[in-house]
Amino acid sequence: MWFLEHAWIIPFVPAVSFVLILAVGKRLPRGGSEIGILAVGTSFVLSACTAVAWIRHVNDGGGAAGEGGEHALGLVARAAEEGHAAIEPVVKTVTWFQFGGHEFPVGTMIDGLSVIMLVTVSLVSLLVHVYSTEYLKGDRRFTHYFGFLSLFTASMLTLVIAQNTLMLLTAWEAVGLCSFVLIGHWWEEKPNSDAALKAFLTNRVGDVGLIIGVIILFFAAGSFNIVDINAMAAEGDASHLVLLMAAISLTAAVCSKSGQFPLHTWLPDAMAGPTPVSALIHAATMVVAGVFMVARFYPVFYEGLSINSSSINLLAFVGAFTTVVGASLAFVQKDIKKVLAYSTISQLGYMVMALGVGAWTAAIFHLFTHAMFKACLFLGAGSVSHAAHHTFDMTKMGGLRKHMPSTFKTFVIASLALAGIPPLAGFWSKDEILAGALQGQTNAYPVMLILGCMTAFMTAAYMTRAIWMTFFGEYRGEGHPHESPKVMTVPLWILAGAAVVVGFLNLPEKLAPDGIALRFERYVEPTFAFPEIEHPEFNFLLAGFSILLAVSGITLAWQYFARNRGPHGLTERSSLAARGYTILENKYYLDWLYESVIVKSIKGPIAGGVYWFNQHILDGAVNGAASGSKATGNWLYRYIDQGGVDRLVNASGAGAESSGQFLRRIQTGRVQQYAALLFAGAAVLAGIFIVII
């Protein structure tokens, strides 16, 4: 219980390490990475302890309640009436400041969702820290990198335990900032800084949605507390329109942060950053912040988008569409990291789609498993490039399985997990999502199901393509590739192991006895201030079908690329195919639309207008003011200073002189004259005194 109430320490330690690394890191023997690893390691241990504490808390049936708010108490009572245990999140707050009668607290909120996120973030961050010590050895900004890795970890950890929307917003922005800094780590090369800017600005577009959503929710619930907001939404009293508006605004934020169509364009470009950064931020943690946010505010989405009763809604559609877009674009990439980036986009689409069809646990479970195998894939890609002289171009690789057995094996394991081959983790989570789409809440979500299946097929196919180009065939690159050192391969093995094992955390009821089945769901899914959702049941038919899809995807791709069978040279023969290929290559012309059409048209006239304004009006005003004051100064000098003041001074001097000249005539030197004046004066005075007074 102590861990649940003192969870603020978990993000605090990396934050302190950020400051320390930047302050003294350069002088340390390992350039500050010791502090970073130590801090994140501590966070991981604490997160693990917190997870255990939470499990115990749930098993105890909730125990002591936290500071959930008034809505919350009502819900506890109602839940008690309805006869199932509502376990409140453990909330701890401190009042930051008061303004206008409203208190602004900061605090932590620990429930199953936070706990699983804490564990995921700290584990992947720790492995990435260790990996980076080797990957970035001798880098020009080694210490700076580790400082910002720590800051990112701190921000992400704060985000997942944020008690109110303001904290969430702040942490959201902070992770965006760290992403910017880390993508642009080698900013001396322009493509890198461009990519960093693109990431930041695209995220900014979505952040507007987040701010609007937070404001709408504040006015709806009267509070920034997440528990209060969820309670308000779950009770069913809130206006449906308000929740819909909030949900739509928040969806915009999800689109940008979690790389959904149409704001996904920044993610592939973000691969310009170092590979460990891509693994941590753009595969496992930051990009899932959007998914986390939807999961956190699920009652709002559930009620707002009527997930309950619809068969298609905004969230589900965006997610499903994104999966297909991502998967299709992954086929035409030559850069291995870009393949993985599009794959991430596609899998994020899966998670969002799952949330859209009401399969909450499936989405979070997929988030967890995806973090494991995607991080493994990225780190593997980094390892590969380390060997192939820092290139990511798959055309320059090949036959690396002989030279890098560890990397090869872990990569294959993770790819199979991604493709959804049982009993690896990806199968369980992806299958649950498809089952959710099939089942829906009241109605099925057929469109999502179809798109999801298509993507499953494509996922298997493009991963096979990537593996073929990288690890099989003859080595097409320069130099002699070799296996990476243990510091890099050990994290790969850990993650690959996780990819194998974690799937068993959420075994469906049909396949496992009661004590083991659905562990993940039991501990992670909220029971408090949460809508009553239908959970997808394990469908043997669907499971079999998805396995078939995956296997056929692998096989067909293998046949096409490895055995060279199939319709090769299609793009040369068929102009339709060629055009299709060009569209894919140009990423559906989205980048062209954003940059050349939207941005340029705004930039051109507005920039020109502003420039004109600046030159003519602002500068004119400034120049005018300057010349005006100069003229005023001249006039003042001539007329007032020289003419007026000086004349006055001169006149007084001249006056004194002339009066002196005049008065000196009295001084004749003759005594009798003085006497005369004296007597005259005396007479006059006497006269005045006597006669008049």
Binding site: Q667, G669, R670, V671, Q672
Partner: protein, 99 residues
């Protein structure tokens, strides 16, 4: 006898003396005019003494006479000096303090 007679006599004598002081060019003549003034004052003093039965009037008149004597002595000495230095006692020419 009215007191006013003596007082008016004294006033007239005083004013004549003032006129003489202010208008005479010769230094000695000025001194003579000063004697007139002093005598006028003495008359006043004695008249008032007689009016009030106070002997102080006469006493003061005596003192005035004495002081007048001293003053004439010194004054003439000064006039002599002026004459020695300038060969004339024309007061109009004694204007060294002219501003």
């Amino acid at each position: 006898m009215l007191i006013n007679q003596f007082l008016l006599l004294g006033a007239v004598l005083f004013c004549i003396g003032v006129y003489g002081v202010l208008s005479r060019r010769n230094g000695v003549a000025v001194l003579m005019s000063i004697e007139l003034i002093l005598n006028a004052v003495s008359i006043n003093l004695v008249a008032f003494g007689a009016l009030n039965g106070d002997i102080a009037g006469q006493v003061f008149a005596l003192f005035v006479i004495t002081v007048a004597a001293a003053e004439v002595g010194v004054g003439l000495a000064i006039v002599l000096l002026i004459y020695r230095n300038r060969r004339s006692v024309d007061l109009d020419q004694v204007d060294l303090m002219k501003g």
